[in-house]
Symmetry: C2
Subunit: 334 residues, 2 copies
């Protein structure tokens, strides 16, 4: 038997919400008998689900929704009865141990920072992406919360991501790389040069600079950078893969013989696409908050939502925020 946990789930978040989120909730509850959920969202959606899952699900009806295109901080300030804000408040009030949403990452980060709050000693929370590399999964952080960063932030991002890698992804000794433009420690921007020195001194597992070519190669478990560079790198990976798969499709459909040949290799290609899919990794953890928050991709399917909820439950069971707090306090000597 696992430790019982409660996860707050935003039923309104994601391109195919609420349908896909409700399906994901079904899967998550079926897979984990010690999981309870609190649903935030429109009454029509959350109440029937709770009624059908008495003892496992509670409905908290909300009247507002924050769209993907809204300004995160403003939307969070104005829409106090939105599914995202109410979800975060449930964590603050300790009715839930963590929060999952496939909605706006920016709004979730803003609401979580405002309502759940930062861990003491953490200067800036960060967003991490678990890259589904075919070699081994890689945590890239920050991917957008801190467009302008300082060396000390990068040190903490690395320390937090290493805790996540160790306790949630079960990587015994996470190898940390600093995203940079050369191998030598004197390379890069002033930020990268200063961060290198801090990481070398204070981040166990630091293995030096990681270049853009290294991100998906499996040489590092954690790749740390500022939120601007991380966001560009993440989206560049997505864009490159999308262009290549599009071009591959053109190659495979250019003639009848090729179409026939494509039929033979299609199962393998589908597997490859799946191995690169964010659906399998559960979403992007927000690191540095007093509760466990995971943000799913907007295009999440039911399986991705279920994975995201399961990872949130795992973070709660592992006491991720407490572990981050202890580790950062020890490593930075505070």
């Amino acid at each position: 038997m696992e430790k019982p946990v409660t996860v707050a789930v935003d039923v309104m978040g994601g391109d195919a919400a609420p349908q896909v989120v409700l399906e994901g909730l079904e899967l998550a509850l079926a897979a984990d008998k010690d999981l309870s959920v609190i649903l935030t969202g429109q009454a029509d959606y959350v109440e029937p689900f709770a009624a059908a899952h008495v003892g496992r699900a509670i409905a908290v009806a909300t009247s507002e929704v924050i769209g993907m295109e809204e300004h995160p901080a403003e939307a969070v300030r104005q829409k106090k009865d939105s599914s995202i804000v109410v979800g975060c408040r449930l964590v603050k009030e300790e009715r839930a141990g963590g929060f999952f949403s496939a909605g706006s990452t920016g709004a979730c980060m803003a609401a979580a920072t405002l309502y759940i709050g930062r861990i003491k000693g953490i200067t800036r929370p960060a967003i991490a992406s678990i890259l589904p590399s075919p070699v081994c999964p890689v945590i890239l952080t920050d991917i957008g919360a801190n467009a302008d960063a300082k060396p000390e932030y990068l040190l903490q991002f690395a320390q937090m991501a290493a805790v996540y890698a160790r306790h949630v992804m079960k990587v015994e000794q996470p190898r940390i790389g600093l995203l940079n433009i050369g191998e030598e420690e004197t390379k890069g921007s002033l930020l990268a040069q200063e961060a290198y020195q801090l990481l070398k001194e204070q981040a166990p597992g630091f293995c030096g600079n990681a270049e853009g070519t290294d991100i998906l190669q499996g040489r590092f478990d954690v790749v740390v950078t500022d939120g601007f560079t991380g966001n560009v790198a993440l989206k560049t990976i997505e864009g490159t893969a999308a262009v290549l798969f599009d071009q591959l499709k053109l190659v495979l459909t250019a003639s009848l013989p090729r179409k026939l040949a494509a039929g033979v290799i299609m199962p393998g290609l589908k597997e490859l696409k799946k191995s690169l899919s964010a659906d399998e990794v559960g979403g992007a953890p927000l690191l540095g908050l007093k509760g466990s928050c995971i943000i799913g991709h907007g295009s999440s399917n039911a399986r991705a939502v279920a994975n995201g909820i399961a990872v949130t439950a795992q973070c709660i069971r592992e006491r991720l925020p407490e572990l981050i707090s202890e580790t950062v306090a020890i490593e930075t000597g505070r």
Copy 2:
């Protein structure tokens, strides 16, 4: 008949130098009857070539070589008789109109800045990469000369790249994008936000922010950023493509039926790989110098070297430095 031009060529640069460079020189001379070359490099290599191409090729024997791993500025200071330094001095002395090397990009930039010099009014020269996107080629700049940049640098990078796109790549109205982490003009780092305003006011053809997903999509002809982000994005594209092609190979060789099917689609895959190959685009132009310098990829084959020399000749014929000087002076109102 084309205008006669002389290109200085570093015979020692590149992983397969000097053989591949000499073969590339043959191809380039055969393709362009109005091209002359000056070869810099070890006497054994450059002198026989010049003797075999009297009237088209001159040998300038040099005693030193700058390796790919050397510190660029130091190596340029110390190795005054290296093929790179001497090549740049030939441009400074106006014996050659431009310089091509497949050697160290950093050393070429350092030598070119020191010996050829910046165009008056250009604060910082930049390195551009012509990305061989399957949709349409894209200029990404800066890709590493300026790890720490200011908004004014980014404006000039964009202006210079637009001149290159217009006159060398024959794009009538280059669409310029600012690499950023969102579409709205208020997004991004302070650098990106300030650069946005400058580009909006002073760069004709500016179309707004380009995200990482947009780089290869063909929506922009020029994507401008600082040298740190640009280098990370460029190497991330390379790394993602390499991982995907490796994985694809595994898929295609996993069983005998798949191997047979792979035979049918292989010509298409090879074409796709070629369309993504840097060999076809001629190399990375250094922008903002008083001469035309193109740096080939270290892994250049003879065809890539020939293309690089041809593009250098084209830049000289188009008077690229003069056009950059005029355009930047007009657009920034200096």
